[in-house]
Structure formats: structure tokens, C-alpha cells
């Protein structure tokens, strides 16, 4: 960015201006992912350690692949990147379409309460904390 651009920004952006980057700017205006639904607690893991050679990915895509070297939920990715969940869903759709991430949808989104053994596992896990 040029020095002139910087000064123009300082002139316009004050405390009342809101976010400088509008939420869907990083998705090119898209509000829906090309694939997938991505619940808040869908778990995501990268299928590669490095996507630097992939064309057509933005810095946010690369950041998600970096974050998801460990397993994270959609909500955690959004929180770590400080982006709205809707924006992250679109970016994850791009990555899923290229098989750069693997996604596990949560249990029982439609089927009601899960099996008894899930409850027992959670109760035992909490007791052990």
C-alpha cells in the first residue's frame, strides 16, 4: 500500500467506522459455502501440512489449513481468526471442495438425543477432570 493510501485510511477510519474489512469481503461477496453445511461444532482437520503451492487460495484459507493441523470446531476456527462464522463456512466450503480439509459433522443433529453410552462417557469424562 502506498503512503498516500495510508493517510486516506487514517482520515476516514475512526472509532465509529466499524470493521474496516466487511465480513464477506474475504469471500468475494459469497454468503454460502460451495459445499457442506458446517455446524458450529463440526470438527475440521487439514489433510495437508502445507498448501503454499495451491493457486486460488487467499491468506484466510491458508490460515485455516494452518490452524487445523490440530482438530478444531468451526466455532473455534472463527474465534481464532476473528472472523464471523458465516465467513468461515464459505472459506471451509472452498477448502472442502479441494479436499484440503476433512470434516466430521456432529452427532445427532437430526436424530434426537444420542446413545446412552455417549452420556456415560461424558459423565465419566467430567468426573475425571
Amino acid at each position: 500500500m502506498t503512503g498516500r493510501g495510508d493517510s486516506a485510511e487514517q482520515e476516514w477510519v475512526d472509532d465509529h467506522a466499524g470493521p474496516v474489512v466487511r465480513p464477506y469481503a474475504v469471500t468475494g461477496g459469497r454468503a454460502r459455502p460451495v459445499t457442506g453445511t458446517f455446524d458450529l461444532i463440526s470438527l475440521v482437520t487439514s489433510t495437508r501440512t502445507d498448501v503454499g503451492s495451491e493457486s486460488g487460495l487467499g491468506p484466510e484459507h491458508v490460515a485455516i489449513v494452518g490452524l487445523c493441523q490440530r482438530i478444531l470446531s468451526v466455532a473455534e476456527i472463527a474465534a481464532h481468526l476473528d472472523l464471523p462464522v458465516g465467513t468461515v463456512r464459505v472459506l471451509l466450503g472452498d477448502l472442502a471442495a479441494r479436499s484440503l480439509v476433512q470434516v466430521r459433522e456432529p452427532r445427532a443433529t437430526t436424530a434426537g438425543l444420542p446413545d446412552e453410552h455417549v452420556f456415560e462417557a461424558v459423565i465419566n469424562g467430567l468426573r475425571a477432570l
Binding site: R22, A31, S46, L113
Partner: protein
């Protein structure tokens, strides 16, 4: 073969399953405090940006001038085991965000409704919501210093709860206390599930 790509080894362990519990209640009742007390990291915050034009929009280009509202949700994580991760979500306080609640409540194991006896009415909307949806819930009375101590049966009567709904005292700041509340909820949810299964068989 392309050795430039660093593929993850095939046959890696399958991804764990995520489950969630909601922490609801009025503004300032200690929802985020409870999430933080029992989670393995400090509470994280995630935001949903809602446009005035609402749900069903596929492309936002050209409507940049429409007003947007941000709904923030605080949440935490407890890794139960290699194949199970529990998330705790504090529900957004304002009643006008019910549709965000719908998304949160979908698939939730249950909910903790935090209550403050000085402002008991603040938790009525949460109770109504979970009763209406059939989501298992418990009421946890957060014991604020200086608040008059109520008996639990008084709270139960004041909230007009079904007799089966557990009401417990808690200190949302304390890990052990928050853990106990969650265990009470899960035991209650498990009982409800069993009762519903039996009712469906009859």
C-alpha cells in the same frame, strides 16, 4: 507421484465426534463465567453476522448498505476422550436472537439455565424455550454474594417447573461446582431419554 505435497498418512485416526451443552440464563447471570470455569481454555468468542435481509441469501454483493447485526456467543471446550469433544455454548442474551438459539439447540445434549434469585424472572424465557423444544435442562441457582438464600423448593415453585426438573445451587466461578451441574444435567438428560424411549415403545 507428487512428492511436493505433504499428504497426511492414510489410516490416520478418525475424527472425534463433537457434542454440545448450552448455558442459558439472563444477562450477567454468569454464563461465560461458568463456561470458563470448566473449560480447558479461556472462553472463546464467536460471532454470527446477520443481515437485515436475513436467511436465504446466497450472494451479498450489491447489498453492502443493508444494516448488519452481530450476535456474539462465548464458548468453551472439554476434550472428554480421543473420540469425544464436548463444547459449552453460552446462549446470546437478547430474546430477539431466537433463531440463533434454534441453531445452538439443534443436537444439544441439554441445557443449564443459570438463575439469579435477585432477578429470577430473567431466566423465564430460557425455561419456556427449552420446555417448548423438549430440550432436557436443569436450573442452577448461581449463589451471588449478598443475595438472599432461597430454598430450592421455593425456586422450583417460583419457576413453576415440572417436578422432574432438577434445581441445584452452584457457584459458577468454581470448576468443581460447574462440573457437578453438568453431571446433574447429563444424568437428567439420560433419564429423560430412557423415559421417552419407553414411552415410544408402549
Amino acid at each position: 507421484m507428487d512428492y511436493g505435497r505433504s499428504e497426511r498418512p492414510t489410516g490416520a485416526a478418525p475424527l472425534p465426534t463433537a457434542i454440545k451443552v448450552l448455558i442459558a440464563g439472563g444477562f450477567g447471570v454468569g454464563k461465560t463465567t461458568m463456561v470458563g470455569a470448566v473449560s480447558e481454555t479461556r472462553p472463546l468468542r464467536t460471532e454470527e453476522v446477520l443481515t437485515e435481509t436475513g436467511i436465504g441469501i446466497d450472494d451479498l454483493s450489491g447489498i453492502e448498505e443493508k444494516s448488519t447485526t452481530t450476535v456474539a456467543m462465548d464458548f468453551g471446550r472439554i476434550t472428554i476422550s480421543d473420540d469425544l469433544v464436548l463444547y459449552l455454548f453460552g446462549t446470546p442474551g437478547q430474546d430477539r436472537f431466537w433463531f440463533v438459539w434454534d441453531e445452538l439447540a439443534l443436537g444439544a445434549l441439554g441445557a443449564v439455565v443459570l438463575a439469579d434469585t435477585r432477578r429470577l424472572a430473567d431466566c423465564f424465557p430460557s425455561i419456556d424455550y427449552f420446555e417448548g423444544r423438549g430440550t432436557p435442562f436443569v436450573v442452577a441457582v448461581n449463589c451471588f454474594e449478598g443475595a438472599r438464600q432461597f430454598r430450592l423448593d421455593e425456586v422450583q415453585a417460583a419457576l413453576d417447573l415440572d417436578p422432574g426438573v432438577p434445581v441445584v445451587l452452584c457457584d459458577a466461578r468454581k470448576r468443581e461446582s460447574a462440573k457437578e451441574v453438568l453431571i446433574t444435567l447429563l444424568e437428567h438428560a439420560m433419564k429423560l431419554r430412557e423415559a421417552r424411549r419407553r414411552a415410544a415403545e408402549d
